[in-house]
């Protein structure tokens, strides 16, 4: 017989480290982590909100993006994530990230290649790396850390390690972030 145990649900299981994709100052009192899927329309809606949040709270928030592709419902999500990673090793992660969320209906190979070029990356190299799935382990690691943290869909946000179960409109995120900043500060 196994003893029952407590499930510590909704806590970030993998702390933010330097291998994460981080936007914003390291000294920011609030860390906002998003588990997202580039093909998920709700993540697409959340994207400009997060950008605005970072504009309005430049010294308060640093933003971390982790991959959570649900490939059975979003067949292009993994390719998109791999493309972002290929951009990441060339110091262009956020440019590619923004392009992907701004062109969610253009993930077919031709348009995606155009996007890679627009971001200023070597198309042939990136396509080769994506086809060889050399970034898949990292994406999988993100995914598993999300599953273990209680991510139940995308986008899921964590604010200083605690899952944000409220909405993700700008006012809601601002309120949540400011509350945590007050406590943390």
């Amino acid at each position: 017989m196994t003893t029952p145990f407590r499930v510590d649900t909704g806590r970030l299981a993998a702390p933010v480290t330097e291998i994460d994709h981080i936007r914003g100052p390291a000294t920011a009192p609030v860390t906002l982590v998003e588990y997202g899927d580039y093909q998920c329309p709700y993540c697409g809606m959340a994207h400009p909100v997060v950008q605005e949040l970072l504009r309005e709270r430049p010294n308060v928030v640093r933003f971390v993006y982790r991959h959570f592709p649900l490939t059975n419902v979003h067949p292009f999500a993994e390719v998109a994530a791999e493309t972002a990673e290929a951009a990441g090793v060339r110091e262009r992660f956020w440019q590619m990230h923004d392009w992907l969320f701004e062109h969610q209906d253009q993930f077919d190979p031709v348009h995606l290649a155009a996007g890679v070029e627009e971001v200023g990356l070597p198309v042939d190299e990136v396509v080769q790396e994506v086809n060889d799935h050399i970034y898949l382990d990292r994406i999988r690691r993100d995914f598993v850390s999300g599953a273990r943290s209680g991510v139940n869909g995308t986008p899921t946000f964590f604010i200083n390690g605690l899952r944000h179960d409220g909405g993700y409109s700008l006012p809601e995120l601002l309120t949540a972030v400011d509350q945590v900043a007050t406590v943390a500060g």
Binding site: M1, T2, P4, F5, V7, T9, A13, C40, P41, Y42, P69, L70, T71, N72, V73, R140, F143, V144, A147, R148, S149, G150, V151, N152, G153, T154, P155, T156, G167
Partner: protein, 182 residues
């Protein structure tokens, strides 16, 4: 896909926030009731035949409902992780086999969806996971150890997607035990 506002808008009104009968948890440590249910018109899944590896039972209210769809899509994506523990996942609802088939095809679900259709909800009742008067399975999770005992179980409100962290933690807790036994 997390779309809380849409879920509350479109979810059938009967899936309300009434308190749940949280007796599913009382099955922890008990032998899991055996059952045999169809996963297709010509295929039956019998629980006791799955001894030797952990089994995850996922009771859910209805194919196609927004929360169930998200939950099942998530479990499909997490299958490789479940496989690391050698665990089998079985979805169970009162929907018929043809409904399951259409749902599985539409959402790319490859694990078995069992039809607790006739007598309706009999297996859900055996697991104290039948919701009256709605006549659907509760949203309830059971992790069975390799000997067929309930290692962990949890009931959730119909409107909440439980995620997988509870299941993964339960599977993880079974690993040392497994090593000791072998």
């Amino acid at each position: 896909m997390n779309h809380p506002s849409q879920v509350t808008l479109t979810h059938p009104a009967r899936f309300d926030h009434r308190p749940m009968t949280n007796v599913a948890r009382s099955l922890r440590g008990q032998r899991a009731p055996d059952f045999s249910l169809p996963s297709a018109t010509d295929r039956q899944v019998t629980l006791s035949r799955l001894r030797g590896e952990p089994v995850i039972l996922v009771f859910y209210p209805a194919d196609w409902s927004p929360v169930c769809s998200d939950q099942m899509a998530l479990y499909q994506a997490v299958l490789p992780e479940f496989a690391r523990y050698g665990a089998t996942v079985l979805g169970i609802s009162v929907d018929g086999v043809w409904c399951h088939r259409a749902f599985a095809e539409d959402r790319g679900i490859s694990f078995p969806l069992l039809s607790d259709f006739e007598p309706k909800g009999e297996v859900a009742r055996a697991y104290q996971a039948y919701r009256l008067p709605d006549g659907v399975a509760e949203r309830a999770l059971f992790v069975l150890d390799r000997d067929g005992y309930v290692a962990w179980s949890q009931l959730y409100p119909p409107t909440v997607n439980p995620g997988v962290d509870g299941i993964l933690a339960a599977l993880h807790s079974l690993v040392p035990e497994t090593q000791v036994v072998t």
